[in-house]
């Protein structure tokens, strides 16, 4: 097991190398100059003090040949240094760390909604296969799966924020969901409600497609498990239908669900970008988009490399979870 994990971690190194190379080259092709942005985009380029420009460029190492710049970047990265944001005058790593809780809060809430609704509903309709409620659920699931998330977001904003005035149109509460739980003793439930009010629309929007996937996947894996011989055996020896469903069917149906869960969570982390933009949610995705807009090389690179790292680790975790759930699987 340990050897397997080490091998997987080693295999990540060339992949990360490739990722940095692609992002680095892409950012250098981008037709824009962070130093000029720093001086203010509206300033006439001819009137900028060329000497100051040269010095600034030099201080960020941007006057070096690109292969040298890349080498510097990768060697620093290897020691955990993600570089500094040119425009925000702060270490990239800190900037991302600041925004990460917002993205995690959103992604984890969406995932929870999808799992808590999707899996029980999937089991419920699977044992009622072919019934009216089964067909209706499948139909709604395929609708949710096909609907573009950012469009749903806009429709929900129109309904709940613009028309009904129940929820804010965008943004995040002053306190995170976690912090608002901590302050309940002093400030009561108001901060928690505020946090939830801000979170609910983006989280639901993000979860819809995944809920649909979980319903369909749970339904099909449960149906498959119901056909197995051991289910017939369990019933034959007189176990209650409830015990059969939970102990024999659902447990065996979990494996594909765990894979899907892990993969979709990884996808969620990188896929919150659009939702963050529509709801003005201050997460890593928006940080990346803004950095891209202002050609903040190091920041864009940092966001992409860190997200890709999270992505790879999530995939590894999924594979390890397999072995945990299914004792027949052994990695060596």
């Amino acid at each position: 097991m340990t050897r397997y994990i080490i091998r997987r971690l080693l295999a990540m190194i060339p992949v990360m190398f490739g990722i940095t190379l692609i992002v680095f080259v892409a950012m250098r092709i981008v037709p824009g100059d962070p130093i000029v942005v720093l001086f203010g985009a509206d300033v006439d380029p001819v009137r900028i003090d060329q000497e100051a420009l040269r010095q600034l460029r030099h201080s960020y190492g941007l006057d070096q040949p690109i292969p040298v710049q890349y080498w510097t970047y990768v060697t620093h990265l290897a020691s955990g240094d993600f570089g500094r944001s040119i425009l925000q005058h702060a270490p990239v790593f800190d900037l991302i760390l600041q925004r990460l809780p917002a993205t995690l809060e959103l992604a984890i809430s969406a995932m929870l909604i999808a799992v808590v609704i999707g899996i029980p509903l999937g089991v419920y309709v699977a044992v009622r296969k072919g019934s009216r409620i089964d067909r209706a659920t499948l139909l709604i699931a395929s609708f949710l799966f096909a609907a573009p998330g950012f469009w749903i977001a806009i429709m929900l904003i129109i309904l709940f924020a613009v028309q009904l005035h129940w929820l804010p149109t965008s943004g995040r509460a002053d306190l995170s969901l976690y912090d608002s739980l901590l302050v309940i003793p002093e400030q009561g439930l108001a901060p928690l409600l505020d946090a939830l009010k801000h979170l609910i629309l983006p989280a639901i929007t993000l979860s819809l497609g995944y809920t649909a996937v979980f319903v369909r996947l749970t339904r099909s894996t449960v149906l498959e498990a119901l056909r197995e011989d051991y289910v017939r055996t369990a019933r034959a020896k007189g176990l209650s239908e409830r015990t059969v469903r939970f102990r024999h069917v659902l447990r065996n149906a979990m494996l594909p669900l765990i894979t899907a869960g892990g993969l979709y969570f990884a996808q969620l982390l990188g896929g919150t970008v659009l939702i963050e933009v529509v709801f003005a949610w201050p997460g890593v995705g928006r940080l990346g988009i803004d950095a891209l807009r202002f050609f903040d090389y190091a920041l864009v690179q940092g966001v992409v490399v860190l997200t890709a790292l999270l992505f790879s680790f999530a995939n590894l975790a999924v594979d390890l979870a397999y072995a945990f759930v299914d004792p027949r699987i052994r990695y060596s």
Binding site: I22, M27, S142, F143, A146, L274, G288, V300
Partner: protein, 288 residues
């Protein structure tokens, strides 16, 4: 359909019949054909000029002159939706078709010959698949500039690696089949084995991917147009129209509503057709 399946040497009746016996599939095919016709003949069908502005009629709701209302420049929404269909379908079809073809070539060569070609393509695919897709697309678009051609290239880059890996894994197992061995025994060369005995068997799965790919490419075009990274205004595309709609959400929600519905319906049809095809190609599926 029948002619195609015969030529590819697939068991002809079951798949086509299964697909056509599904009511959902038939509806989806009809709607997709309708969209395709609108895309092809937008110039003849559209009631107005997609770029014609009319400040007096800004943000009007549906009326006889403008069945789906007008946008903030007084342009006819129905007309722009029709031209938008042309652009969205063009982007989606071109990118998905090229990606599938590329995946077929890369996957077959890597899976059949193995060795260096497999190693090199495998490592490149590893890197591309390790990127969160939306972020990869954003970075690439930023580098090469936002326009329709670049968007097509980026969608190809997003789709090709996953599909190539899938084709490769199918080819790896198909290569071991006894009929491939038999073909080799009677002197068939690699080219013939690949074209006649391996590739046809991957097409079923690939056709499912094509449909799901169309749905996701339409979504990507809309998402990138929406972010200002795809088609550029004033060109009508579903994405740019969603963006226009967001700006005037409070005064004229009909703009977002109609444009989003078009994206939704198109994506729903391609997804449903993909689902039906998957069941149809899967012999273990029990008919419900």
């Amino acid at each position: 359909m029948t002619a195609v399946t015969t030529r590819l040497g697939l068991p002809q009746s079951p798949v086509a019949q299964r697909v056509l016996s599904s009511r959902i599939a038939v509806i989806a095919i009809i709607v997709i054909v309708a969209f395709a016709l609108v895309a092809l003949f937008a110039g003849l069908l559209a009631p107005h000029d997609p770029l014609e502005m009319n400040v007096a009629d800004r943000l009007d709701g549906p009326s006889a002159a403008h069945p789906l209302g007008t946008d903030q420049f007084g342009r006819d929404v129905l007309t722009r939706l029709m031209y938008g269909t042309r652009l969205s379908f063009f982007v989606a079809f071109t990118s998905v078709a090229i990606a599938a073809l590329g995946a077929l070539v890369v996957g077959t060569v890597a899976g059949y010959y193995g060795g260096v070609s497999d190693f090199v393509s495998g490592r490149i695919i590893d890197v591309l698949l390790a990127f969160p897709p939306i972020l990869l697309a954003l970075v690439l678009i930023a580098a090469v500039g936002p326009n329709v051609f670049n968007l097509i290239v980026v969608i190809i880059v997003l789709r090709l690696p996953g599909e190539a890996r899938l084709v490769r894994s199918m080819v790896l197992s198909l290569r071991q089949r006894t009929y491939v061995e038999a073909a080799r025994c009677i002197g068939a060369d690699d080219r013939r084995i690949m074209l006649r005995h391996i590739i046809p068997h991957t097409l079923g799965t690939l056709s499912v991917l094509l449909m799901l790919g169309m749905a996701s490419a339409i979504y990507l075009e809309a998402a990138f147009g929406f972010l200002g990274l795809g088609a550029q205004p004033p060109d009508p595309s579903w994405g740019t129209m969603m963006r226009d709609g967001l700006d005037v959400l409070r005064r004229a929600p009909h703009l977002s509503l109609f444009t989003g519905s078009a994206i939704f319906i198109a994506s729903l049809c391609f997804n449903s057709l993909g689902d039906v095809l998957r069941d149809a190609f899967d012999p273990t599926t029990i008919r419900r």
